[in-house]
């Protein structure tokens, strides 16, 4: 049994836009000899997905992720190849598509449900649950044009999760709403997963992908680069791919009198990874090569969040573990234990510079992305050791 199967799937777009916007343009094109410039949003995709699997699709912007979902959902017709989806398919591609601004929330619930193929009978029965899930009880009879964008999306999502598809396509919908609502959304998707639905999840939130998916597909420029276990694919994506294709705003400079030859990020068991767990150790191993003898070098590092917030920085000078001198090859090991970062994406910067900071030998700015997952229910950026103490009134 196969839930989704793509064979040599390809979708071509014209660079000047498909079709002609006006008759004039069309005539002009008919008489023009020059062939149109094309590009393939997706090409040569071959894969099969078994039922009940949750598959993450990751890749840089414009890599063809959304085109792929469109092809699966049937909104886009393939230029070549074919795609076959077994069973009922539903997509959380665009929430609230088909909402009519002038109609009330109540009317739109029924309308949107009809568009998504949910029987009206079910909606009537579940209406209260839908409204409560969206948290819009007092606004349900207001035209949705007066809703805030958050309310709009919440209502749309509340309707959408009433679907009972065999295959569910999710495209970055979790990027909406406040944290509380996002948790509810994730819960619902978990629910789908538990009920054995096949889920295809497109997201830039790699922690979520790592947490949810059984398998991850990495696509770039419309082609499948890799498919495999989440941590492996995400590792590849972060570690080499994002850097190699210049996606990250990374910087590398220095005199290279001492050169960072290789950097390995290791977990508690000593395995190389980019996915770390809160509360577990993280080891950074820097292999360097000094071209000549360097007196009193300083090794430093810092961590920033995916949004560029500076979290922590230190070096051997500040930490008072000065080195006398280095020469030739060597390895510097930095252990962070326990890792107190909470779930998220982070960047590691490394540097080797002189004692007085006047010479930068080699600095790698944000060159090493990694992610942290957290199995607890705690929220925030950093884990704080906490203890609760309750003293009842005397």
């Amino acid at each position: 049994m196969i839930a989704i199967e793509a064979q040599n799937l390809g979708k071509r777009y014209r660079k000047a836009g498909v079709g002609a916007p006006t008759l004039r343009e069309a005539l002009k094109r008919t008489f023009r000899r020059k062939p149109m410039e094309d590009f393939w949003a997706v090409r040569g995709l071959n894969f099969a997905i078994e039922p009940g699997r949750t598959i993450g699709v990751i890749g840089p912007n414009g890599s063809g992720k959304s085109s792929l979902l469109g092809l699966l959902a049937g909104t886009i017709t393939p230029t070549e190849g074919s795609v076959r989806v077994e069973g009922r398919i539903s997509s959380l591609l665009e929430l609230g598509a088909g909402f009519h601004p002038d109609l009330s929330g109540r009317e739109n619930v029924f309308l949107n449900a009809a568009i998504l193929g949910i029987p009206q009978e079910d909606v009537r029965r579940r209406f209260d649950a839908i409204v409560d899930f969206a948290g819009l009880r007092e606004f349900i009879d207001m035209p949705v044009k007066h809703y805030s964008s958050g309310m709009y999306v919440r209502l749309a999502f509340a309707v959408a999760v009433e679907m009972n598809p065999d295959v569910l396509l999710v495209d970055e919908v979790l990027a909406v709403g406040d944290t509380a609502f996002q948790m509810k959304c994730l819960d619902r998707i978990h629910d789908f997963k538990r009920r054995g639905k096949t889920i295809l999840l497109v997201s830039h939130a790699l922690e979520t992908v790592e947490q949810f998916c059984d398998e991850v597909i990495l696509i770039h420029k419309g082609a499948m680069i890799q498919r495999g276990p989440p941590s492996e694919v995400i590792f590849n994506y972060l570690k080499s791919y994002m850097v190699r294709i210049g996606m990250l705003n990374v910087e590398e400079h220095g005199t290279r009198e001492v050169e960072i030859r290789a950097v390995r990020l290791l977990d508690a068991a000593g395995h190389e990874t980019v996915v770390f767990t809160t509360g577990q150790p993280m080891v950074i191993e820097v292999q360097y090569h000094a071209k000549h003898r360097i007196e009193k070098p300083v090794f430093g590092f810092n961590l920033k969040t995916g949004n560029g917030i500076y979290v922590f920085g230190s070096n051997t000078q500040i930490a008072k573990v000065p080195l006398e001198a280095i020469a030739g090859d060597g390895v510097m090991r930095l252990t962070i234990n326990p890792l107190t970062l909470m779930a998220g994406r982070f960047f590691l910067s490394l540097s080797i510079h002189s004692w007085d900071h006047s010479v930068q030998y080699h600095r790698q700015e944000d060159l090493h992305p990694f992610m942290v997952k957290d199995d607890s229910q705690h929220k925030g950026l950093l884990h704080l050791d906490t203890a609760w103490e309750h003293r009842p009134a005397l």
Binding site: A97, D102, L111
Partner: protein, 267 residues
């Protein structure tokens, strides 16, 4: 046939879309649904007034004929004009959700049909009253109206499918359609009875044949025949006028199916 099957399978959605169309149109207007009836009545009034004024009393133009003509014309016009935006106005639905594309123009036609039926609720007593004033009666054949209504609805659907899809690829369509409709209005017996073109027909018989190939000519004439007992046109040309849309339907459905495949890319 296949198209009808799709429409039937999604009838719940069709009703919802049509309902959205109807509700959306009259939301926030004081008279609301009443506009459905007021607008064509007002138009019929204008035509009657000016034709009487310009043509003089001698002109044989019955008020019932004009009312029937204008109301039926309105039905087709509404299908065409709202059909134009069936896709261009719902880009989100086309690009983000999969539903048979056929449903959007169909829902537009459905909502126009509901409108038309409401118009008929007003039209029939009005015609009966006007005929009664001339000591005539509403024909018993009025009961056969549904047949013509079904036919016109189908014809309107073909038009809506054509213009909705064409407008996705060429936005010129909406302007061309505007021009086409104003020409069509005059070459169809909307504000005049068929007898009006008799003079012309005697001079150029082939022109009359051409005239009767227009499905709206035969549709409107049929409405009049059924209600007021005006003579039915049974020329070969009129027969072809009835038949050709049914044949063309095959091509329209096929072309529509081909065209809709790339809608998401173009919109």
């Amino acid at each position: 046939m296949q198209a009808l099957a799709i429409a039937w399978r999604h009838r719940e959605l069709l009703w919802n879309l049509a309902g959205r169309d109807l509700k959306g149109r009259y939301k926030d207007s004081v008279l609301g649904l009443l506009w459905t009836i007021l607008a064509p009545l007002f138009m019929a009034g204008i035509y009657i007034f000016f034709l009487r004024l310009l043509g003089g009393r001698g002109l044989q133009i019955g008020m019932p004929d004009i009312i029937i003509g204008v109301f039926a014309w309105q039905f087709t016009v509404q299908c065409v004009t709202s059909g134009l935006n069936a896709f261009t106005g719902n880009a989100n639905l086309v690009k983000k959700v999969y539903l048979p594309r056929l449903l959007l123009p169909t829902s537009v036609v459905l909502s126009a049909l509901v409108n038309y039926l409401l118009m008929l609720v007003v039209q029939l007593p009005l015609i009966a009253f006007l005929l009664w004033r001339q000591h005539e009666m509403l024909s018993i054949w009025t009961l056969a109206l549904p047949v013509v209504i079904v036919y016109q609805t189908f014809f309107n659907l073909l038009l809506a499918l054509t213009v909705s899809a064409a407008n996705v690829y060429f936005r010129d369509t909406q302007h061309l359609v505007g021009l086409g409709l104003s020409a069509w209005f005059f070459v169809s017996p909307v504000m005049y009875p068929l007898s009006f073109v008799h003079n012309l027909a005697e001079r150029w018989p082939w022109l009359e044949s051409l005239y009767q190939l227009n499905p709206l000519t035969v549709i409107i004439t049929a409405y009049r025949t059924l209600q007021t007992g005006a003579p039915l046109v049974l020329t070969p040309a009129a027969m072809i006028g009835w038949l050709w849309p049914l044949v063309a339907a095959v091509g329209v459905f096929y072309a529509f199916d081909r065209a809709q495949r790339n809608f998401a890319d173009v919109l």
